[in-house]
Symmetry: C3
Subunit: 477 residues, 3 copies
């Protein structure tokens, strides 16, 4: 990048960040934001390990805390030409202190690459608000910032539980394997010194993909966890239902599903039984495997009408687009790329059967913005069960969030949405992410007030609802 | 929703509603809007029954006037968990007075659900401007508002014709079945005391869908209406052409078409004859039926080049997504959901043949915003016959309208568009809908002026054209 | 259009054109724009013939200079009902002076049709800045403007080289046929009096489409140009590699590819050999031809990793949508219409093999905006080889550019983009196009500053980078 004198090398956070530029609209937005800024955080979907809170061990170092768990950050550094191995990405890749400091320097030296990205907003919030960093990241400031963070991480008030208190996170949902014993969740629930609600989420994706080479092994694990014989389709279904109940008993409020598409269909029992038998024998055809997975999504909905778990769908990702990266660094290492998705036809069989079922909740997320106004909002504006989920992943960013509100509100209003979902493993960024959302909603509502589409008292009530009753209603919290 | 004190329980309409928030841009927008605000309304596509105007009977009650004919309203109430039967939706579902009042209370109690939706804008305009309601709808104000409206409806100045005068609706198009005798239209045209132009629209959808179970019966009805034997394909085509001429003779300016897609193709005569014979014998295959429908769309274009009717296309809706709702309440009861649509390839055969035909007009509407910039604007920016239709249905809302202008103008300008189309059966909301459009176009043009893309005199001329010559040209009025 | 008094019949260009309306944001944008306004132009992809600069002959007349080479302009006039033959469009269609004046009158009389389009912005910039026209185009002013331009074109300072100096175009890329001998480029490079860099671009589309009826003839031409026998697949590949090297030796930095889709796949050698043999024998099946074309795109990538040419993809156009227009006026005469495009799955085979290859650059352009946030930005935010290309063709317009930045920056930042590409044959509009881009980027960055997402020094650096290091890095200049 062009070399220029940097008149401002300080990191300072304006109180007006992300609020609309127009002075009149900003004044309204400030008042709306002030009303929600300090509301406790409800995080009904995310990826923080419960173990972090159960163990309450200090975080290791700045890089393994802030870089290697954040795929938004390391993927863009990778695009800048930095190999993932230098960033501590992937299983077993805990860099030593030198490696961590090196990774941190690489990141700070590429701070400009993050201009205009939400990672920039989240990271500067973490640096300034959590660690009191006052210097803008750069090659020059990297070591000093690293040392300041590393020093803080050694102190008790930077342990996970202390931060959870400081962040005022009332509810935190994790994402868990169906055979997980949820012992960390149980430990937290039984810990009288821990007052936050940490709930598991039932995430059965791989147990619903009969084409996986490890499907027979997964079925064996499922049988062991449920003590139900999964040698037959009926046993498979019963075992899944059993694990859902186990999760529910441990506080779960939702199941989460992320397949390539959301096509649904219903197989008759004989057909499902036949395909399942082929699958555990390792000889299922791709077509049959897909059919059974689509059928099982309907089964999940059926179970939801019985056990009451909210169903969330996160479809439309081509996982592991770059084979070599996945092979070397494992899944979720930056090369997952969205594809188009279709909800209207795909979900019709499921919604035809359960769309108006008492108590059924189905929250739709997407990486394909085209369905916000075309499919998700119209579905959420008719079916009592359907909620428009918050902007997800690449779309959880200021302009995308504005597009989401502009694309869904006119058809579904504010009250058919799920509320904000941070969906992150980057624990320290959770307040920054919710703060971003609150600022953006304040700005959106302020515009409606400035354009006389809403009165300010209504906007204020809506802003508060969006961080209180809206998520607690959608997620049954 | 969170309970809060309501500092403002009044319903007041700002003169600046929907105008841009930036003061400089708003000042320009005010001037542009002032120039078009009181222009007569041209409504070239809608769903008001001609009978309402022919009979000029008083409207029944607030609910059957404002709720049950408005699928935007009742679908969102349904999503809020209110059963449709409590809202008087569906054929034969005229609630008694108690039912109407109950429905009205349900609606007013859920007023917050409509925040940020166009229904909110339209409804508050109707309440305040048409009925002089000064209270914001709520559970508390519901009865008083109901009584005020009910009282007004008993007065002569709230009958359909009086309102049509008050609303200054110069042209109103209805939508009609090809076998309709158009007697109400004829009565209005012969009524010397009625000075408005009420024109029918030829809507042959179901007569072009050979896969329908009732297709043979429809062909019988078509034969009776046209006095042409529809026992053969040639007769079928002749009968349709005859009914188009009948509509034209009764003032029609357009035919309207809404199928799942807009794929077109040309069958040779033998093939069309064969498929048609299968269809009236009740043994047509789905593939053949689709092929004949696609062929008939080209036939409609061919007839349009002969009789001069403008052709409008409204594709891409999955009708009756929720089977049980359709079964119980009939069609158009809220569960119609958009799907993706494709124009470029689909219309190529039709446009290759008639795209530059003298006098042919083809207006394209969509619920799939992705085609605005990708397909519709490029088509309308080349073919003299193609016009970009106004934002339709779910997209007829402030932010969507802004997106429409932003997505089409740069490629097609303002003069390859159709002008505003209200497309509504909610008679009382027609002025509010046109007013919304005028405010939004004023705001869009004002921004172009503020950014020095246009001079204000050009913007003023354009704003006027958009409510005068643009629709009269596109619709041949 | 409605007849109105025209209070302003002058053509004046505000210094604030296209800058944001909000005064605070505009003040920032002015500062950013001031810093880049006079930077030299880098034009790494376009369609100006090198011969114009080599010959330095005077331009003919206003119409053949400003109308007939500009498909944006003549297609919208065609949509207004003006036959292409009256506009001098198509091969061999150089109108005489009377024809040129007539075409110019038609254009000026329809000036209103261009309101809100980028053609309006470009044309008024050319008229005012290049020719000093002070009257707004209209039927009345047409002749005077024509005469002013025609007069200027006769003067030495309006010859191509003089204009290139005046426009400060440092680098200009042309687009060339693989068998072109590039003699004009060679002449320019050897001309000590010509200090600009004019580089060819290798555009092999038709040589990669085995289904073309003229494919055998094209192979013969390729053989002649390369002196390599193209009678076999191996020879075909070798000849293409040879021509790429020839282009590279003549200064080329990139190859450009525009097919209907960007699906890629790898054939084994035997299969490629078989299909190629069928193709030169004129008996290739459509499926095989498509497969070979998709395979050859991967071959182009492989060659790029060897010769270092940057690869640019411009997919998703249905060429010659109106057969009769293409037949009468040739290709590129206005009826090319976009279709949807898919990158994630289509490019996976290519990127799986070369996505992280050292030095490989792949720049993705699109006419389908939906892929900006869904596919292009996520790809460019992971693969070091992938760059998000500037908004292309219909999308090279103010609001579309803003949507592009809003859709890509949050995922890919500014530094994974290609910089602006004017892609034009309208030589005189090149400065206007780059100026538009600079104004829009200044406005976008100013908003980020106004919303406290960036500090102004960072925005200033970014604005400068976007017209200097960003294009030189992406295009290896």
């Amino acid at each position: 990048m062009t070399s220029m004198p940097a008149p401002a090398d300080r990191l300072t956070l304006s109180p007006d960040r992300l609020l609309p530029a127009d002075p009149g609209t900003r004044a309204i937005a400030r008042r709306l934001y002030a009303a929600v800024r300090d509301q406790p955080i409800i995080s009904p979907h995310g990826h923080v390990p419960a173990q972090w809170l159960a163990d309450d061990a200090p975080f290791e170092d700045p890089a393994s805390l802030l870089l290697s768990p954040d795929h938004y950050v390391f993927r863009l550094l990778h695009a800048q030409g930095i190999p993932l191995e230098q960033l501590g990405v992937g299983p077993g890749s805990t860099p030593d202190t030198d490696g961590a400091r090196h990774a941190w320097r690489l990141f700070c030296g590429r701070w400009g690459a993050f201009r205009g990205t939400p990672s920039r907003f989240w990271m500067e919030t973490v640096l300034a608000d959590v660690f009191g960093v006052a210097d803008r990241p750069s090659a020059e400031s990297a070591d000093a910032i690293y040392d300041r963070i590393a020093d803080a991480l050694g102190r008790p008030d930077f342990r996970p539980r202390a931060l959870m208190n400081r962040f005022a996170i009332d509810v935190l949902a994790t994402t868990d394997d169906p055979v997980d014993d949820l012992s960390y969740h149980a430990a937290l629930q039984q810990d009288s010194g821990f007052s936050h609600r940490v709930v598991p989420t039932f995430r059965p994706d791989k147990y619903l993909e009969p084409a996986r080479p490890d499907f027979p092994a997964l079925m064996a694990a499922l049988a062991q966890a449920s003590a139900i014989d999964t040698g037959s389709y009926a046993g498979y279904v019963a075992a899944l239902a059993d694990r859902r109940r186990y999760f529910k008993d441990h506080g779960a409020v939702s199941s989460d599903h992320s397949h390539l598409d959301v096509v649904t269909l219903t197989l008759d029992d004989a057909e499902a039984t036949r395909i399942y038998s082929d699958a555990i024998a390792g000889r299922v055809s791709p077509q049959d495997a897909t059919a059974l997975r689509r059928h099982m999504l309907v089964e999940m909905a059926r179970m939801a009408t019985e056990d009451g778990l909210v169903m969330t769908l996160h479809p439309g990702v081509h996982r592991g687009h770059h084979t070599e990266t996945t092979r070397r660094f494992g899944p979720d290492t930056g090369s997952d790329i969205p594809v188009g998705v279709e909800f209207t036809r795909g979900l019709q069989p499921l919604l035809d059967e359960f769309g108006t079922a008492q108590g059924f909740h189905l929250i739709l997320f997407t990486l394909d913005e085209t369905v916000f106004s075309r499919e998700i909002a119209p579905l959420a504006g008719f079916y009592p069960s359907v909620y428009a989920g918050a902007p997800w992943w690449f779309l959880d960013a200021p302009d995308a969030v504005r597009r989401f509100r502009a694309a869904t509100t006119e058809t579904a209003g504010f009250y058919r949405t799920s509320g904000f979902v941070d969906d992150t493993r980057a624990f320290l960024s959770i307040p920054a992410r919710h703060d971003m959302s609150r600022r953006l909603d304040a700005g959106y509502l302020a515009r409606l007030v400035a354009e006389h589409q809403l009165e300010e008292d209504e906007a204020l009530e809506t802003a508060l609802d969006l961080v209180t009753t809206v998520p607690t209603t959608a997620f049954k919290l």
